[in-house]
Symmetry: C2
Subunit: 506 residues, 2 copies
């Protein structure tokens, strides 16, 4: 592992912890020491990697944080089960403290509001009891917009070490969850290594491994093979599963007439299976059994949008919204089992059609958190789809989407490497933060204010340290100005600095 | 000059021209030959550089296209003068054909609608008669959203050759106008070289050169020195001037109380001048004289927002909107002189406050085209401000902004180099196109449709050639797949391609 990866001392920042009031928890955050003597607290996803003295050993894994919170032998229930019975778990208190980023809070986010939201299905804390390494985090429209980083190999490339490295790169740059979408060799071992070394919830699409077991042939797929794979992944510790249970036979005619058909891998597999077997989607018909299994581990559903639009021309069509309605029905069924649920959303959608997606999702899915892939606001951004999707992601986050799946520059073209992961994560941290600002999350504006004061004071180091990618900001600045103390920037030079001129007035 | 810069044969595309019906004009466009035998027409900003057989010689400059349209000795009037008298000029017909991108058009954009919009002040064609090298283009909310690329040196760096190269890079990647914001050495010579070699309108902020003449001291600034500079730049051929005539003494108390004060260079200079001389802004008090001068060349006003917010905390404040009201008053005065006008806008604005900017601009400025810098939707994106601004730019473009000034990755940190210009221009082409799609520009959706059909057919070369940066798209794809003919992409590998699976159904 790159030994500078988690060295945040370079950014004048260090890990602090805030203790719980009700539970023996210590919530990690990052404190930046500012040049003017102040401090700023940042949300932090790096887990033990930034704890003073921690020595990473990817063979052994990271500490099993949540194990101590739940005595062995205690009967296990999901977060939703507890929430509905009025019980604030350590996980709920943890995320409440975390969301307030160490500030006293303005009272809008408390352990009790967290509990209410979990009970109502408006938020989830993905936390498989078999993945105690993960720090609790919350996904819901009232909270900070979260971002997910997709990693995983395909038949055409990438190894176990590379995938673990991409997972750690993701959390180093701020990913709130990581999905392992491996479809190539060694799926089980790669996932094991990621789970044991990553301090954020891990999601998967179990159909990928199932299809691998079926030797890549949809004809060989069975419910039994799928269920066996679910059990394997529950046991291993996966925190949420994308399951394409909402795509039904009735949707297929409209989907197959589209300009780009079905662009979800899981969706296309189920469509082919239904067509081949002349039968309804087995994920739909066996949904109760899946709920029972997930409840035993507190694995959350991420109900997959197998019919998300793959191009502008297909956005908001009857196939897409028909499936969305079914996803709402399934969410209500999962809640009957106290299983937590988020709903996946598009895809490719032009800006003027984005809001309808959010409005219908809230309507059909009774406020279950929305988790979107972008949306990408045009189809023609090849090589720049981190940007086409950040535009749509920021907007839909503002409208209420709880988590954004990042998209990298390589989307539609190739698999992301380490640098692409970094650029994708930072881009989506920015989109998510823009959404937090616009929706008025308590405290989001504070970061912008600190940054702008640093800018007006020419405190360059503070500007670098408060940005999402301090290395890059510093590097760009130093290309033209070698010292930190300049009272102007290299864009304008000494005579044309507007801020400097402003200060000289009156 | 990089001799591959304008070699579009690599992208299976070549220059075509469409003749006028009323005037002896030939409008350049680019035609892409598709793998399936079809063609797609792209808007093209490259001027003579992509004309078969053209040999560039930056010492001699490019052909003086518009000279032949206006016989020597003919009395000169502005486009607005003609439009108000019912006359469709060659420039108006040119942009009407150009906007329809070679399609027959659906009748919403005709030479007559262009004339009406120019007459009403709802659109402008920046075209100083002393810059006949520039191809006509139109800026107005009904038309394709345009983008501007800022180049120019500062005391801290860059030379004449570098700046000409950045101007040509800008148009190669699709910039519709270029602003030369040089504040360093050699301003006159750099501008001359850019004007003689660039086929798009050139804008400047004449205050920068005026201040250079005043040896960088606001105390030395006079109206006479400014006017002399305006004459110099009108004669040279600058097509539009940013003039900060709307910032008045009454605005200063509020502006100086802000978190980041005044962040417009021109605005801060005028503020300091007013304060030092205890006098009203001379650009405001001499505005009629400026109008008379600009009318003689058809130089357009870009009325500068000297009080644009420089941070989220200052967005939409009384200083900003107070100045905007004055800009509307000045626009009406310019129109009395038949001078064309666009209005500059912010800046740093969170998403939920963007629309108010557009609504008030339309209200205060009677529909004069809006030209914004972003807006940047958060302050903390240092190193990624092309993205924070593309998010805001796409949104405000959708709401009706006519032109977006690009922002590069180096914003707030350093001057952009050639690669930064490319990334900035392409990013803003994408934001502008997303806005065109959302506002329903006739023909914008056609590009997305062609791209998506190519994607569904696995026509990889077509996907590269239809994207804004074919080199980058091709490079990314070839990192993992060496041939063009794959019927799947490297993200999914052969067994997991959703499109391939979809096609195998039914």
């Amino acid at each position: 592992m790159d030994d500078k990866l988690f060295d945040f001392r370079r950014f004048s920042s260090h890990k602090i912890t805030v203790p719980g009031h009700f539970h023996p928890i210590a919530v990690g955050m990052r404190e930046v020491r500012m040049q003017n003597g102040g401090t700023t607290i940042l949300y932090d996803t790096t887990g033990p990697y930034t704890t003073e003295g921690f020595v990473p050993d990817t063979r052994r894994g990271i500490p099993r944080l949540r194990e101590a919170w739940h005595p062995a032998g205690q009967e296990f229930h999901t977060q939703m089960w507890y929430a509905r019975r009025g019980i604030v778990t350590p996980e709920m208190e943890y995320v409440a403290i975390r969301e307030n980023m160490g500030r006293p809070g303005d009272g809008t986010i408390t352990p009790e509001t967290v509990r209410e939201d979990i009970a109502a299905g408006r938020a989830i804390i993905p936390c498989n009891r078999r993945h105690p390494e993960a720090e609790p985090m919350i996904i819901g429209s009232r909270y900070l917009v979260k971002i997910n980083s997709n990693i995983g190999n395909s038949k055409l490339g990438s190894s176990l070490d590379e995938e673990v490295e991409k997972a750690l790169w993701s959390v180093r740059w701020g990913a709130d969850t990581v999905m392992d979408l491996s479809t190539g060799e060694n799926i089980h071992a790669i996932r094991e290594a990621i789970l044991r070394n990553t301090p954020v919830p891990i999601g998967t699409v179990p159909m990928y491994q199932t299809l691998e077991k079926a030797k890549g042939r949809v004809e060989n797929l069975t419910w039994e093979l799928f269920y066996e794979t679910l059990v394997e992944q529950c046991e291993q510790g996966v925190d949420y599963f994308t399951i394409h249970a909402g795509i039904l036979r009735e949707h297929l005619p409209a989907a197959l007439r589209r300009t780009t058909g079905i662009v979800s891998r899981g969706g296309s597999v189920m469509a082919k299976w239904m067509n081949h077997n002349n039968a309804e989607n087995f994920l739909y018909t066996h949904f109760d059994e899946i709920c029972e299994l997930l409840a035993r581990y507190d694995v959350a559903f991420s109900l997959g949008d197998g019919l998300r639009p793959g191009c502008i021309d297909d956005a908001n069509d009857s196939a897409q919204f028909g499936e969305l309605k079914v996803l709402g029905e399934l969410a209500r069924k999962a809640w009957e089992h106290d299983v937590q649920v988020i709903i996946e959303g598009p895809g490719h959608v032009p800006m003027h059609k984005i809001k309808e997606n959010m409005d219908l999702q809230v309507k059909y899915c009774d406020g279950a958190p929305f988790y979107t892939l972008g949306p990408l606001v045009t189809d023609i951004g090849a090589g720049y789809d981190h940007i086409t999707s950040a535009i749509g992601g920021a907007m839909i986050g503002w409208y209420g989407t709880a988590m954004l799946c990042y998209v990298t520059t390589k989307e539609h073209l190739s698999l992301p490497n380490r640098d692409d992961v970094r650029e994708g994560v930072v881009t989506f941290k920015i989109a998510a933060h823009a959404a937090d600002l616009a929706k008025g999350h308590p405290g989001a504006a504070e970061l912008d204010l600190q940054m702008s004061r640093a800018r007006y004071d020419f405190r360059w180091a503070d500007q670098f340290n408060l940005s999402f990618d301090p290395d890059r900001a510093r590097k760009f600045h130093h290309e033209m100005i070698r010292e930190n103390g300049a009272d102007h920037c290299s864009m304008c030079g000494p005579d044309f600095c507007a801020m400097k001129i402003t200060k000289s007035i009156g």
